[in-house]
Amino acid sequence: METVTITLKNAPALYLEADTISPDAFAGRTAAQIAELPVFEGNVPSTLGKYFSISGDAGQTAADTKIIVKGDMKKVKYLGFKMTAGELVIEGSADQYVGAWMKGGKILAKGDVGAFAATAMKGGELIIEGNAGNYLGAAYRGDWRGMSGGKILVKGNAGADIGMYMLGGEIVVNGNADVHVMTHAEGGKTIIKGNAASKVGGQMVEGTIIIFGSIEVMMPGFKPNGEVELEVEGTRAKFAHFIGDMGERHKKKKGVVVYGNLYKKI
């Protein structure tokens, strides 16, 4: 695997849209060619090279390419946009749409990421060592096809609306999550090791939510269904089981109604 290191040298006055910072866009290009890839600051078209110093050539394919991003990326959007393979390491924090529409490969963000990370993710792995913003692993506006595969790990806290319209894959938040978890989900799993605010699992058709901490206010559509012992992420514990959202439609599989599952550690 070839490594390309890009370092922010000229910070944008506004924000930079750099959807070309992905192994797919870099693949098969030399450092000089990568410098020519387009980026936008507002309505002004520019090139990666104007903002970043670039060292190292990319591999022949995305899978053979690893990108290390250095410098303050808090005003850079779309890192790892639509990536299908390879690796992206963000040394600090980044703005919105990290790994949005990603299908494969691995992203490691060592700081925080902004809203809309992993929008409609289909596969691959996203690890966020800091905090994640709102709409992590959620669907794009109006789309009923949210995150359908892959894995997201947030070591800090996550914002509101994580896993909205989730269909598959897994989100793990080591810290707390803000309001609305897996709203409208029809599959997939979200684990929150800390506390959840409220509105957890609203309008959920199918899928699994596991909360280790507290839930400020439960949704009335989640009906108590006894207690179970589960092993989650290497922890074995007793959980209160709820099924829901009872207000929502549910499918029948082999004649049995399938509900969403909410487990809360006792």
Binding site: Y140, R141, G142, D143, W144, R249
Partner: protein, 568 residues
């Protein structure tokens, strides 16, 4: 205006009976002429196909439900908006393109005229604003009448003259083009969450049946002598077994003869026939009844149809058939929008994915093609996708490919997950007919123009007609190496002239044209009773005053073209 001569193209013009002969087409001052001067600009069409501008008889391209589709489907635009090019305004959208993109896409395919298929009268100003912002193509809009309280009340008492006077008033108030009927009576029933599934189901409260509404509106239409006939989306759309309701509907036209000065021969136009040609009793034994429908239509000359071809895309369904959309959202659980319109109509919108892996979708695909292949007279059968219901209009070139190439159909059939089911439930596998370019010109130009009463104006290349001329990169002398070449050729005109202005060159838009709004201005005898009824309904039941109802003024219709009818 400039003069042009389009030289040496293979001309296909059913109006003049020209079947691919090498001919020149001359344009002067916006019209087709016999000859032009030596300074005329020459367009070399050697080895290319030349046809009149195409005519869209039924599409949902402008107005409240189309825009509701745009508003509530941002995902339809995701990654489908591209930077503008040249003189084009920005555009976007896949199944429900923006108005600018709509005009450009039609023009790029060589379309000169498009009819918006369902205008809720109360929203006519909205429809006209969107038409104004759809460049190049001439457009008209069909106000819906089949659930209108005035119509229901007059026809309950068989008052044809009053119905006709009201229709004339509404066409003028809304600047409408034709009498459209959608799920007659059923949409009014939907006001209470109900429906009319046969032509004999009584409409709640109004004490009338769909059959009476349909016959009454045919009579009113012929009483007035409008350019187009009554244009109907029958009851019971989209359900297994619905073909019987369709036949019951068609039979209502028996004995009626067209009366008009526009050259129209039919008294009933059945739209998106594909959705109305289903047999079976459920989705499991769902089957094609295209043969039963085309047998009937082939034998009855006073009917025209359009196909409503399923294109196997993700799209957005939208119709004034409110109860149908509610039924559909129950099937696919996708987002449902509905608008009930006071005293007049309703509309529903639901996204839909016609997946080649689902047998019902594949059978629907086959039925649409069967209809076009089984109709004996291509002048009475027109290609549509009921845009965007069965697929976006931008797929017309693909539909043409399937109709012109048995090989292309076979490739698609083999790609279906449930190929056997498609072959057992339809007869698509037994049809080896391939439509000719002449037949395509009949189905997309001369035919729809005649059905709409526009024969004097468009659909052909006869001197005196509007100079709408499309040149395609398709050489009819050469065998088709790959059916996809047909699709490619019809997707982007080599050149397209609209009313004598070159609007497309090498597939690119080069002019925003001179679009017109077509409407029908009918003079009727003064009718005091109808005027009193209108005043009363506005005071008592409408939420708007009568004086604010009309679509008036340059900001709605900057370039009107009225077809005048004297029914006094």
């Amino acid at each position: 205006m400039s003069e042009y001569i389009i030289k040496n193209g293979h001309v296909f013009d059913p109006v003049q009976g020209i079947k691919g002969d090498k001919k020149d087409v001359c344009i002067k001052d916006g019209k087709i002429v016999d000859k032009v001067g030596s300074s005329a600009k020459v367009i070399d069409a050697a080895g290319k196909t030349v046809m009149a501008g195409a005519v869209e008889i039924h599409a949902h391209v402008a107005g409240p439900k189309v825009n509701l589709g745009r508003i509530y489907r941002p995902e339809d635009k995701l990654f489908s908006c591209t930077p503008t090019k040249g003189i084009e305004r920005m555009g976007g959208g896949a199944s429900i393109p923006t108005t600018f993109k709509t005009g450009y896409e039609y023009a790029k395919m060589g379309y000169a005229v498009a009819m918006e298929a369902a205008m809720p009268p109360l929203f006519s100003r909205h429809v006209h604003e969107e038409i104004r912002d759809t460049p190049i193509i001439d457009e008209g809009a069909f106000p819906v009448f089949g659930n209108n309280w005035f119509v229901l009340e007059y026809l309950k008492n068989q008052e044809i003259e009053n119905t006709a006077a009201y229709c004339a008033w509404l066409l003028k108030a809304t600047k409408g083009y034709a009498i459209k009927v959608v799920n007659p009576g059923g949409t009014e029933a939907w006001g209470w969450g109900l429906n009319c599934l046969t032509v004999n189901d009584p409409v709640p409260y109004f004490d009338i049946t769909p059959a009476e509404i349909i016959k009454g509106l045919i009579e009113a239409n012929e009483y007035l002598g409008l350019p187009h006939s009554m244009h109907i989306h029958p009851n019971n759309l989209g359900n297994p077994g619905c073909y019987e309701t369709t036949l019951d509907t068609l039979k209502l036209a028996e004995g009626y003869k067209a009366k008009n000065k526009f050259g129209r021969e039919q008294v009933l136009h059945l739209t998106h026939a594909q959705f109305h040609s289903y047999g079976g009793t459920n989705w499991g034994d769902f089957e094609s009844k295209a043969k039963e429908i085309t047998d009937y239509v082939n034998a009855n000359k006073n009917i025209t149809i359009d196909t409503g071809n399923v294109t196997l895309d993700e799209t957005t369904t939208m119709t004034a058939d409110g109860p149908f959309e509610h039924h559909l959202t129950g099937l696919n659980h996708l987002k449902w929008a509905n608008v009930d319109v006071e005293l007049e109509t309703a509309a529903g919108v639901v996204p839909y994915i016609y997946s080649p892996s689902i047998s019902v979708c594949a059978i629907q695909w086959a039925i649409g093609l069967e209809l076009a292949l089984m109709m004996k007279d291509p002048m009475r059968c027109y290609i549509t996708t009921d845009h965007p219901n069965a697929g976006p209009f931008t797929r017309y070139p693909r539909v043409i490919k399937w109709l012109m190439s048995a090989k292309a159909r076979e490739t698609q059939i083999n790609a279906f997950k449930h190929k056997d089911k498609v072959l057992s439930q339809t007869s698509i596998g037994t049809l080896d007919k391939e439509l000719s370019l002449y037949e395509i010109a009949q189905m997309t130009r001369a035919g729809p123009a005649r059905s709409l009463g526009l024969t004097a104006m468009c659909g052909g290349l006869k001197p005196g007609m509007d100079a709408d001329v499309a040149v395609y990169n398709f050489n009819p002398d050469k065998p088709v190496a790959n059916p996809d070449d047909i699709e490619k050729a019809f997707s982007r005109c080599a050149a397209f002239f609209k009313s004598g202005v070159q609007v497309v060159s090498n597939g690119d838009i080069v002019s925003n044209g001179n679009k017109r709004t077509l409407w029908v201005d009918v003079k009727v005898k003064e009718n005091q009773q109808v005027m009193r009824d209108i005043d009363e309904k506005f005071i008592k039941y409408y939420s708007m005053t009568k004086n604010n109802y009309e679509a008036l003024g340059h900001h709605f219709i900057p370039n009107p073209y009225a077809l005048e009818v004297d029914a006094t």
